[in-house]
């Protein structure tokens, strides 16, 4: 069978670096493959993906050969490239250029000189296939993140490419939206036979859908095979073991031998039934949230309503009280109002009705200097909070604004704590999304505030870094800091938060202890809870389960 793509002895070094980011990489892609590329941050996943698309090939020293349909990628005419290889980027906002969905879908076809009647036919067909037909006339800026990423995919798919490349396409989507997006991707692969190749940190869904996994470790391709074996290999690496999704991790940790390592909830449930697995609680008495004793709340949100346009309330008579030393996680879909609430809590906007008090003061009436010292905020777009030309300078500026006594020592401490040494002289706008997130966190923590408010703090972070950040924040919390986060990351919230609440349509549900919150949820819960709730109701993470009866340990 003719190979769709061949990568032979590919070695690539960026101009400002001495060691190659890809070192002697070899693999082939068959038509119809669904390939997931896994690896640490900085292992070269995105660089490898970009080498398969002529227009995105990075500049630097390159040896080796990359061919698509037996044509070197670099020699591919632009017109052929557009119709052979599609690319969907990580940030859904960067791709669209037109005002409406229909214009965005027509854009690539107009670029390749498609006649109008053909454009119309392709749009009709694709919009119906992807369920976009009701949204064709909608303005792009009115779409949610999930809808936008689907439009981005459609805008690539409309060119009928043979191969679609996706760079962490679901990293900015909430779990249900991400699941929907990946389901669509699966349909494209299964029903249309289009080859899919994507990089992803959250492997739980993707690894179950993919037929191949490529593993990059220390700039080398160390594994190319089925995802089940790939995950087992990842579990043996001290770093990559954090990338293994919780279901296979449970089976590997408990040394449960099955014919194939389960990845999806359905596979795991089937394995539990087939092997009559019995689980018991892995922690003595389960995880009991160490809630601080009830005292005067550090933050009270009293009956607030907020609207951007005066036509529709984003927040509607919302109440919230947060005790000092708590870690509260607010969970909800994209567009449910979480970010707006956090912005209001930090006094960056003022609600039309109601009051928000930090201890006794109205947040929006606090002097900016005072607010910066007591109440720190990391937005979901940290780069919009950057203000200096280098990473170190960012921290120095913040230290100066906060009038910290030993500014240099504090800056050095933060740089070491977040492992920013390698990038401290780089422009913060030029570093990766995950690194920007770490710089944003370091800036927010410079003040050692009483209240730390984080909007999607794990966005763009790989699973290893995420756990390190979680542990670090936990230390700050144990030292007395109150933390409020809005997050899509169920497992992060389950592991670190004390209390959780669900936000929907401008309201907050009752605050519950993390364990009860996830144990009572059906959709917004962890995969471990989904597979084991019948046996251990409160189990959320692999560590919460222990095998009670299995005869076939590996």
């Amino acid at each position: 069978m003719q190979k769709l793509a061949t990568v032979t002895h590919l070695t690539f070094t960026y101009p400002d670096q001495s060691t190659p980011v890809l070192d002697d990489v070899n693999f082939t892609i068959d038509p119809g493959d669904f390939i997931v590329i896994a690896g640490n941050t900085g292992s070269g996943k995105t660089t490898l993906l970009n080498h398969l698309k002529k227009e995105l090939m990075p500049k630097g020293a390159r040896t080796g050969d990359v061919q698509i349909a037996e044509t070197p990628v670099a020699d591919m005419p632009k017109l052929v490239s557009a119709q052979t290889v599609g690319y969907v980027a990580q940030d859904p906002q960067t791709q669209p250029v037109m005002a409406t969905v229909i214009e965005e879908l027509a854009f690539p076809l107009e670029n390749i000189g498609c006649p109008s009647n053909e454009i119309e036919r392709r749009i009709t067909e694709l919009a119906n296939f992807l369920g976009l037909d009701q949204n064709l006339d909608r303005q792009i800026h009115q779409l949610s993140g999930g809808q936008l990423q689907l439009v981005n995919l459609a805008s690539v798919l409309i060119l009928r490419p043979k191969l679609i490349l996706l760079d962490e396409p679901t990293s900015q989507l909430d779990p249900l939206t991400a699941q929907h997006f990946l389901t669509v991707l699966g349909r494209i692969n299964q029903e249309l036979g289009i080859t899919i190749m994507l990089t992803e940190h959250r492997l739980s869904t993707v690894a179950a859908m993919a037929n191949r996994m490529i593993l990059l470790q220390d700039h080398h391709l160390t594994f190319d095979g089925d995802p089940h074996s790939g995950l087992a290999k990842m579990a043996t690496d001290a770093h990559l073991t954090y990338f293994v999704p919780s279901i296979p991790k449970l089976f590997l940790d408990q040394q449960i031998r099955t014919s194939q390592l389960p990845i999806s909830v359905a596979d795991a449930q089937s394995a539990i039934r087939t092997h009559h697995l019995q689980f018991q609680s892995g922690t003595t008495g389960g995880k009991v949230a160490q809630l601080p004793p009830a005292e005067k709340p550090i933050l009270t949100v009293n009956n607030i309503s907020f609207s951007f346009d005066g036509q529709h309330n984003v927040l509607h008579h919302l109440n919230l009280a947060i005790n000092p030393g708590t870690w509260l996680a607010i969970i909800g879909k994209n567009g449910s109002g979480k970010s707006t609430l956090l912005t209001l809590i930090c006094g960056l906007m003022t609600p039309q009705h109601g009051k928000i008090r930090f201890v006794h003061q109205l947040v929006w009436k606090m002097a900016i200097n005072q607010r910066m010292a007591k109440l720190a905020f990391l937005s979901q777009t940290p780069r919009l909070q950057f203000t200096a030309d280098t990473v170190r300078e960012e921290l120095e500026v913040q230290a100066a604004e906060l009038r910290l006594p030993d500014a240099k020592a504090q800056v050095d401490h933060m740089i070491n704590q977040f492992h920013l040494n390698r990038i401290e002289k780089q422009n913060p706008f030029d570093i990766s999304g995950g690194q920007q997130q770490l710089v944003g966190l370091a800036i927010a923590l410079m003040a050692t505030p009483d209240l730390l408010v984080l909007d999607e703090p794990t966005k763009g972070l790989d699973p290893y870094t995420k756990i390190q950040v979680g542990n670090l924040l936990k230390q700050y919390q144990q030292a007395g800091m109150t933390i409020v986060i809005a997050s899509h990351d169920m497992e992060f919230c389950a592991k670190f938060a004390d209390k959780c609440t669900f936000m929907f349509d401008g309201y907050l549900n009752t605050l519950l202890a993390t364990q009860s919150f996830f144990a009572d949820n059906f959709f917004f819960t962890t995969p471990i809870n989904r597979i084991a709730r019948d046996q251990v109701k409160d189990a959320l993470l692999p560590v919460d389960l222990k095998l009670a009866n299995h005869p076939e340990r590996g």
């Binding site: 698309k53 227009e55 995105l56 005419p77 632009k78 017109l79 490239s81 557009a82 599609g86 690319y87 980027a89 940030d91 906002q93 960067t94 791709q95 250029v97 037109m98 005002a99 409406t100 229909i102 214009e103 027509a106 854009f107 690539p108 076809l109 107009e110 670029n111 390749i112 000189g113 006649p115 109008s116 454009i119 119309e120 792009i140 800026h141 805008s155 690539v156 060119l159 912005t343 930090c346 006094g347 960056l348 906007m349 900016i368 200097n369 910066m372 720190a376 905020f377 937005s379 777009t381 780069r383 919009l384 909070q385 950057f386 203000t387 913040q398 604004e401 706008f429 030029d430 927010a444």
Partner: protein, 298 residues
Amino acid sequence: MTHTPIKMTFFSQLHPVALTLYFTELIVCLLLFNHVAVAVAEFIALTITATYYLGGRKTARQLKYAVSFLLMILFFNTLLNQKFPPILWHFKWGILTFKFSYPAFLYGIAMAIVLIAMLFVFSVLNAVLTPSKLIYVFSPIAPRLAVLVTISFTLVTSFTDRLKRILRLQKTRNVDVVNGSLKTRTQKTLHIFEILLQDALSSAMETANLMDARGFGAAKRTHYRSYHWQFSDLLFITIATVMLVATIGVRILSMGTSRSVTNFTTIFTPGDTWPIVVTALLFLLPLISEGVYRSCKN
């Protein structure tokens, strides 16, 4: 009575090319006549049309501005043209003299009304012929320019949105453009723009690469014709063009117009009747068509 949303009106659903031609005809027509009676007739017809499509409140707001505009033109016109008889009022104070000329007054009214009517035409045009329709009309002539204009429109929206977010979020870094001395505020505003540009440039580079990846510049661009000519479009624009031809015919016969300010001594002349009829019909054509369209409802 519930008001029909503008998108659901017959006029708004016309083919963009038909709409562009019609609005061009209206502008030509407005430039043909300068008699007060004709200008008033045109203005009344346009006000009725605008009220239907823009709504009473918006039209009333525009009329309020129109009155001040009218007064300003009248003031300057009568101030700068004082020599044409008959003089209605003569004021003298020391070396200062002012003669209130009746022809200057009438000419001022006619000019002001024509100008106000022109503004009304553009208001209706803005509401009916949206930027995307206009780009559609011009894209066959300059396809690349058309797409760049569209992209610019989109970028302006996202630029504005991003500026608002930066202004909000930079308060966490003590960059507040509202408080402090004028010098501090100016410095901080400039700093905000620096951040905005830096952020916009970095994302624009990625957007440009993704445009390239989707074949931008790979071949001669075509244009998706999302609008199709209907019989009603052809009928509408044919009637409008016939009316414009009639209007031009009336103008050639020197009806409804005067060459000199000296001739502006009366509001209405019998020769104005035909121009009033044809222009009013042309200006009311969308409403007449709307009525016909509704009467054809099953």
